[in-house]
Amino acid sequence: MKPQMFLENARMSARSIAGNMVRSILTALGVMIGVAAVIILVALGNGAQQSVEANLTALGANLMIVYSGEPRGAALVRTNTAGIRPTITPADVAMIESLPPEWVNAVAPTSTANGQLKYENRNVAATVTGTGISYPEVRNFFPVYGEFFTQADVDNRNRVVTIGMQIYRDLFPEGVDPLGRTIRINGISFRVTGIMEEKGSPAQDAAVFIPVSTFQRSISGLANYQLVNIQAASPEIMRDLQAHLEQELLRLHRLPSMEVADFYIANQLDLLATVQGVTGTFTVLLAGIAAISLVVGGIGIMNIMLVSVTERTREIGVRMAMGARGRDIMIQFLTEAVILSVGGGLIGVGIGLGGSWGARTLARTAAAVTVDSVALAFGFSLVIGLFFGSYPAWRASRLNPIEALRYE
């Protein structure tokens, strides 16, 4: 086949498509919708994945948590740890704090309890969190007004509290500056040092933070900690650090294995991997559903191409009489099918990009278009044109010229 024949075929196909514009658009509509659906749904799936990942990362960089109690699966952050019997001893914490800075950046031993807050005649229930001064850094959660309590407060078991944004709103009348004011936690007076930033999660916004030493003496009366928040030095060190901690804590607790351990360790990477697995499956599922509509669009193209071959039987006969070979006829109709599906695919890409943009800006949904999904959807439309166009084209090429010329 001479290369110029491809050009001639493309020209003939374009002409016949343009000559039947309404039908051509309707034919390509299936592929258009299919391609747009693949791009938009994959964008939504990816957007969901990215926002979940962003939320997880916002919990704190390279976060690892040692919990009291039996292993509870992959939950990194338990929303309510109050009421768990603390099994992590001061010796455990001392061991973790003694690890080299190449392994651990910061450590915040923590315990929580449910508490009743009171300011003047106002009463609010809150999670009371006793922790160390590294807590804001480890959990990526900082004060926006005033300051977090200090190391001196921890050393001296001072009765100071840094309050969550929701607590500030619920406890203080409008216009009252809470800094330096005294609130009561379970009847004990605490001086307010600052307000934490708003995170949008009740577990963080409806909590108050006090020095862990004060917590042990005034709230729980226990020397053990419920959990230890750890910031690992790097993501690469995570797995080794976890293994080392498990080994050392088992030794300190005189326990033979993790199966019977009274603590467990969760890390951000594992949780991220789990979430990515789930949202990845979700995205593939969406893409699969959209791909079905692409296939249906392809069947639509085949249907119309078969009709078109029948309608143009006489034209095919004339072309054969003029010297067209079966291959020439085949390529002409195949080119037509591919132009329809690829044209539909291109418009579909446009609709998909526009739709994703609309979802992001108008509906404020997380939608992230990936180059992969655009390339995949477009490539798929090309394959569909070739696949579903080949049978009608083959039928056209096999027509008997005498019968085709006689066809009314």
């Binding site: 110029q4 024949m5 002409r15 004339v318 054969m320 009489a321 003029m322 070979r325 010329l405």
Partner: protein
């Protein structure tokens, strides 16, 4: 130019065998203008299809321009049609979406001629049938006679060995038909070899020789 020897073509229609051509031998020399006549069902259409390389004989031989074409594969047959045969049909069979010029170009496209050369040649052919000023018109903007002239220009485009016309005046009124026949005579005078298939005696009278087919055989 055309030499058919003892050509047989049989069709099986259920249990009966139709002997459309039953031992036909025909020779046409270069520059001849031959009419093939016969009543409908006589086998003249089958003969035309075989001469036009649209169909092949079951037995017998067919030489076109000295080459045996009775056993060619379909692709080679398509090439022979492209180079050596110019078809003129009763119903013109122009492609409705193409202009007159583009219709004339169709056989040149399949012959692989470059675009510029093709335009030049197609224009020349339209000039030859007197339709140079209609080259941009589509078939439905042309009269019956003009359409048949475009079809003749298309048939001439690849400079074929023979023009094969099947009832070329069948869809035209008698005056226009007469004009088309005069065009054929003129082309013949300029050297074209023409085989005309018709069942009308007065159309056949324009040819210089008549071959009469009856029941699948040459009758005189």
């Amino acid at each position: 130019m055309i030499a058919l020897k003892e050509v047989h073509r049989h069709y099986h229609m259920g249990p009966t065998v139709v002997r459309a051509l039953d031992g036909v031998s025909v020779e046409v020399e270069q520059g001849e203008f031959v009419a093939v006549t016969g009543p409908s069902g006589s086998g003249k259409s089958t003969l035309m299809n075989i001469i036009g390389c649209l169909d092949q004989p079951d037995s017998g031989s067919y030489h076109l321009n000295g080459d045996a074409v009775e056993d060619l594969i379909p692709d080679r047959l398509a090439d022979v049609r492209n180079r050596s045969i110019g078809f003129v049909f009763q119903n013109f069979n122009l492609l409705p979406r193409l202009t007159a010029l583009e219709n004339v170009e169709v056989p040149l496209v399949y012959g692989g001629m470059a675009r510029r050369e093709r335009h030049r040649r197609a224009r020349l052919m339209l000039e030859r049938v007197g339709l140079a000023d209609r080259s941009g018109h589509r078939p439905n903007e042309l009269s019956g006679g003009q359409r048949q002239r475009v079809a003749i220009a298309r048939a001439l485009a690849t400079d074929p060995a023979i023009l094969l016309a099947d009832e070329p005046t069948g869809a035209l009124d008698s005056r226009t038909g007469e004009e088309v026949m005069e065009l054929f005579q003129e082309l013949n005078r300029e050297g074209a070899t023409i085989v005309l298939v018709t069942h009308e005696a007065d159309v056949a009278a324009h040819a210089r020789r008549t071959i009469h087919i009856l029941d699948g055989k040459v009758s005189r």
